[in-house]
């Protein structure tokens, strides 16, 4: 009877659905032999998860000792579920084209779809976990699932990338656990033994009584640990390889979701430090790492010869900007950081949707071989141009808005810091503009014998373009007009972040 009651209570909680759908589908997809059906089920599952995440806005469940939803994570849950959904649509098209090129076997595909859902599950669990330990386990599991997906092609490069990713992120994850243990130790004398001393909802109220030195030490470990997963320089080494060698839908979710979730974990701990008030300022550390990521990637962007690596470095750049914004703190900078997280996530995954099709059409990832996209594939080419201009920070797109806010708030508060920030952004803009010029315009390369082009159906082409244009449209609209409730909400969360 009690089991039944518990189940009934669980069914009423939309959070349970958000977690159960991806987990259940992961298990089901792992045994489903037919890949075409699996791709559609993947879309259906991701779509249902997205719908379930929308229910949260109408009906916000009470926090339990394991799961909770508050102003901060609710929008990230919705964003994660949304990008997970659109990427699954793109993935269906991408996989269809890959199988025509005979690059993936049935077993690999079964595995791929199961891992995709498992990855969504870990991301969502990390976001809604009301327990520092559960959050850590979720991020660790996310590492595992993505490593498996990065190595999917089994080429030498893919295995090298996966191994590097695995080793670096495992160490990062390990250090994050040490930080988590230290936070527990700081909380334990105040909150008593057990799960209470790990619950976000309870920690934040009593954070003022924690031992500040322990929190300081913990934050350093957490910054290095979760910072590795965010891809902050100098801990970013895994990121370009993992983005470049895995299947492109995975590059899209890595950039669009994983980096955000790792940063979310870090920000939660930063909130604890802010609530304590007697610790060191986490700001300067974050600003320093943010700026170094920005500069490193801005210079690296000029030297790239591989299209996926180019945008992987651009992800490092933007995570740097976001970390800078949160490091600066205050209502405006936090607002800008939150908005930039959203905009970067949408734009970058959109870019990877385009890149996936571009590399499949061209049969190569070499930038030098990709030319004249707007002439050869106008729908794809122009979508790509707009998305790249958006990520480079050109008005009127959403990314410009948030970058503008970061720069202005930096000028208002710390003019000396705003200068390097602006220089870094301009450098990155220059690199992307040069690359875009070559890829989008100019004469298309002489028609090479493209393996799959003739056989790709209209259906899968449309399927591939829809998510791209959807993301582009959202980013453009967000630049011109943000809905009032969304602004109010960003403001509320910005206050929450301190």
């Amino acid at each position: 009877m009690t089991v039944w009651a518990a189940l009934e209570a669980g069914a009423a909680n939309p959070l349970m659905w958000i977690l159960a759908i991806p987990l259940g589908s992961a298990g089901f997809l792992a045994v489903l032999p037919h890949w075409r059906l699996a791709a559609w089920l993947n879309v259906a599952a991701a779509g249902t998860t997205f719908l379930a995440s929308l229910v949260l806005f109408r009906h916000r469940p009470e926090p339990t000792h394991l799961l909770f939803i508050d102003d901060f994570n609710i929008y990230l849950v919705a964003l994660t579920a949304f990008v997970g959904f659109t990427t699954s649509i793109f993935s269906a098209a991408y996989i269809g084209r890959e199988t025509q090129a005979d690059r993936l076997s049935d077993v690999h595909l079964r595995f791929y779809h199961a891992m995709y859902q498992a990855f969504l599950f870990t991301m969502l669990l990390a976001l809604v976990a009301n327990n520092t330990g559960v959050m850590w386990v979720a991020v660790e599991a996310a590492t595992l699932t993505t490593v498996l997906m990065v190595s999917l092609y089994r080429t030498r490069e893919a295995i090298e990338a996966a191994w590097k990713y695995f080793i670096l992120c495992s160490v990062g994850i390990g250090l994050a656990l040490f930080g988590t243990t230290l936070v527990y130790l700081a909380a334990q004398p105040v909150m008593g033994d057990g799960a209470d001393a790990m619950a976000w909802t309870l920690l934040i109220g009593k954070a003022h009584a924690f031992h500040p030195d322990l929190l300081n030490l913990a934050f350093v470990f957490l910054l290095v640990g979760y910072g590795t997963k965010v891809g902050l320089a100098p801990l970013h080494a895994w990121l370009p390889d993992a983005h470049a060698e895995g299947p492109t839908p995975i590059s899209a979710v890595l950039s669009g979701l994983l980096l955000n979730v790792a940063l979310y974990a870090l920000l939660r701990f930063k909130m604890l430090l802010a609530a304590n008030g007697k610790t060191l300022e986490p700001g300067p550390l974050m600003i320093m790492m943010g700026l170094s990521s920005l500069f490193l990637s801005a210079f690296m962007l000029y030297r790239r010869g591989d299209i996926k690596r180019l945008f992987a470095y651009s992800s490092i750049e933007h995570m740097g900007v976001i970390t800078f914004a949160f490091g600066l703190g205050g209502p405006v900078a936090n607002f800008a950081g939150l908005m930039h997280m959203t905009m970067h996530s949408l734009t970058k995954s959109g870019i990877f949707f385009a890149v996936g099709i571009i590399t499949q059409n061209a049969g190569t990832k070499r930038l030098a071989d990709i030319r004249g996209l707007t002439a050869s594939h106008p729908v794809l080419g122009w979508g790509f141009v707009i998305a790249v201009l958006a990520i480079a920070g050109l008005p009127p797109m959403g990314v410009f808005m948030s970058e503008f806010l970061v720069v202005t708030s930096a000028f208002a508060r710390q003019p000396l810091l705003a200068l390097p920030l602006a220089v870094g952004l301009l450098l990155a803009f220059g690199a992307l503009a040069i690359r875009l010029q070559g890829m989008a315009f100019g004469a298309p390369p002489p028609a090479r014998r493209v393996h799959s082009q003739a056989r790709v159906g209209l259906m899968s082409t449309v399927l591939a373009y829809v998510p791209l244009w959807l993301h582009v449209a959202l980013v453009v609209v967000a630049g011109l007009w943000l809905p009032g409730p969304l602004v109010a909400w960003f403001e509320a969360v910005a206050k929450l972040l301190g």
Partner: protein, 221 residues
């Protein structure tokens, strides 16, 4: 009196884990590294079991069992088999000479003691020393990963780092989820071992030397 004894014993076991961590740094042969690691895992299992007894926390016995069965027996055996099967070079290749590694190792231990003891001045004595020992073990594991070149020693370095983390977690009084965390870590470790085998890094890269991995800095074209 009893409290003093339990404290001393916890301290002693923790120090054994740390000594094994130092021991890992000066091994020159791969099999000796594996044996030293197995010894460290046994010591960790003892530490977890002792904490389970002292804290009256029976779930920590599960952590101890995982450390003993999985890390002290299964993983070293698997790696041993792997080294033979894949014909991996059996001497440890160092990026930094053993003498210097030891000096850096001692410095790291000193650093973590100096860092942790003042910070935890108000915490329970049991937690204090254990935490500084655990942090030393973590840092030594990292040092090993940095200064030893081939993949097996790097995996061992990672597992040593993880031993430090589990030591910290079992010493934190009443910390929930320790068992879940050690299971999660075991999966991670199993994956690395499996990865070496499954990807046949030996065959693919001709060597397990990770330096060869580093030549792949991306744009090779």
């Amino acid at each position: 009196m009893a409290q003093q004894f339990s404290y001393d014993l916890a301290h002693l076991i923790g120090a054994t884990v740390l000594m094994a961590g130092m021991g890992l740094l000066y091994q020159r042969r791969l099999f000796a590294v594996l044996n030293t690691f197995a010894f460290q895992a046994v010591a960790l299992a003892a530490a977890a079991a002792w904490q389970a007894h002292v804290q009256h926390a029976p779930h920590l016995y599960a952590t101890a069992a995982i450390a003993l069965i999985f890390k002290a027996i299964a993983v070293p055996l698997a790696l041993h088999w792997l080294v033979e099967r894949l014909g991996i070079h059996r001497t440890v290749e160092t990026a930094l000479s053993i003498g210097w590694t030891m000096i850096v190792g001692v410095a790291l231990v000193a650093l973590s003691i100096m860092l942790v003891l003042p910070v935890t001045a108000k915490a329970a004595a049991l937690t204090r020393e254990s935490l500084s020992i655990a942090m030393s073990v973590v840092l030594l594991g990292m040092l090993m990963m940095i200064t030893r070149r081939n993949a097996v020693t790097q995996v061992v370095g990672f597992m040593a780092l993880e031993n430090g983390l589990i030591l910290a977690a079992v010493s934190a009084k009443g910390m929930p989820l320790v068992v879940e965390i050690s299971i999660a870590f075991s999966v991670l470790v199993a994956m690395t071992v499996f990865g070496i085998f499954f990807f046949r890094i030996r065959e693919r890269f001709d060597t397990l030397d990770l330096n060869y991995l580093e030549t792949y800095r991306g744009d090779r074209q």
